[in-house]
Symmetry: C2
Subunit: 176 residues, 2 copies
DNA sequence: ATAACGCGGACTGTATTGATCCCCGTTACG
DNA sequence: CGTAACGGGGATCAATACAGTCCGCGTTAT
């Protein structure tokens, strides 16, 4: 369990596939099966991206998710915040106010402003967030486009087509 | 519960007091009571600082801890690593290899090198660590010396003296 | 010899994370 | 129109990590 959780990892991978499969709505089940991750768990993650305005959701049959804006305008920081809700790197307990010499009410020079230790942590968090803000989903998508062979994108299209045919063409029984 | 835990917070506050009370060995119990934190929990934290070479421990009666080197040579990053053991900001699950199209063995263009998403997180972690490495315990100690009134340092000395008298002068019963 | 120390292991309780299940409202398609 | 595929949200559960406690051991001044 790390500070940036697997929920964020799943979210970014999903967004990457949405960025690559141009403007076709993919359902949470498709995204899960395509990547070998838990469908029910992914179904808890994608609504967070929708509420943050990163993806658009379409309900009902043939519904699914699309990017709400170009991948180049979606930063990693926005994704992390959408999933984890700006959880702080450090949770200051204000130990400085508990010094035995103060008794119950610490003097103002010891309790005013931001704790110096907290300030250091906030600066580190700021550096981390700035780094995440610099990278966009589009950057990663471009990198993927460079290294993946052209044939692979055709395979993706085929897989998605097959998926949609199974879901709606026949009813209920996939590949039985 | 944040990425940088309260153990780190306790550790830094203790180190700050050690830096201020010049070269007098303070016991873990003294440090705990002085700051209003759990003595038993603090007793689990200080040995980590000792194994990391940040403080020196002196066993036996009248024992305690001292800084192992000048406060200006102790960075926040060293303290965090000493307590948390270089725990990563992000734990990559290598989702990229699980794509349904690959079957059991993903192609080398998809599994080689570092995952692009992981690389972004590593860069953010590097930025955070660089920020923590820039700040030293000495910086905070100097800031504290500026804002705390001169009288306060005398009070600290008195408190420590009284403590040591109680522990060794009489036996067992503090202020009874 | 005693009692204050540091050190380490075993243990407990609680919060978070990862994950599952169920039910509801919505929507396309037959 | 009815059915079944969708998204959305709540209840629940297991595993893990964190915060904190307890006990016993070896060491060392007095």
């Amino acid at each position: 369990m790390a500070h940036i959780t697997v929920s964020v990892e799943y979210a970014i991978h999903c967004l990457l596939w949405l960025a690559i499969s141009d403007d076709r709505a993919l359902s949470s089940r498709d995204l899960a099966e395509f990547q070998g991750i838990s469908p029910t768990f992914l179904a808890k993650i994608l609504p967070k991206l929708e509420k943050a305005g990163i993806v658009g959701a379409h309900e009902g049959v043939r519904g699914g998710y699309r990017l709400a804006r170009p991948a180049s305008q979606i930063s990693f920081l926005q994704i992390v915040d959408a999933i984890e809700g700006e959880k702080p790197l450090f949770d200051c307990q204000e130990v400085r106010r508990r010094c035995a010499l103060y008794g119950d009410c610490p003097p103002k020079w010891a309790s005013g402003g931001v704790c110096a230790i907290h300030a250091v942590m906030l600066q580190a968090e700021k550096a981390m967030r700035a780094s995440l803000a610099l990278q966009s989903l589009g950057d990663i998508a471009m990198r993927f486009n460079r290294i993946a062979p052209a044939k692979f994108f055709d395979e993706i299209d085929e897989w998605v087509d097959e998926r949609m045919a199974i879901r709606t063409g026949r009813s209920g029984k996939p590949e039985a």
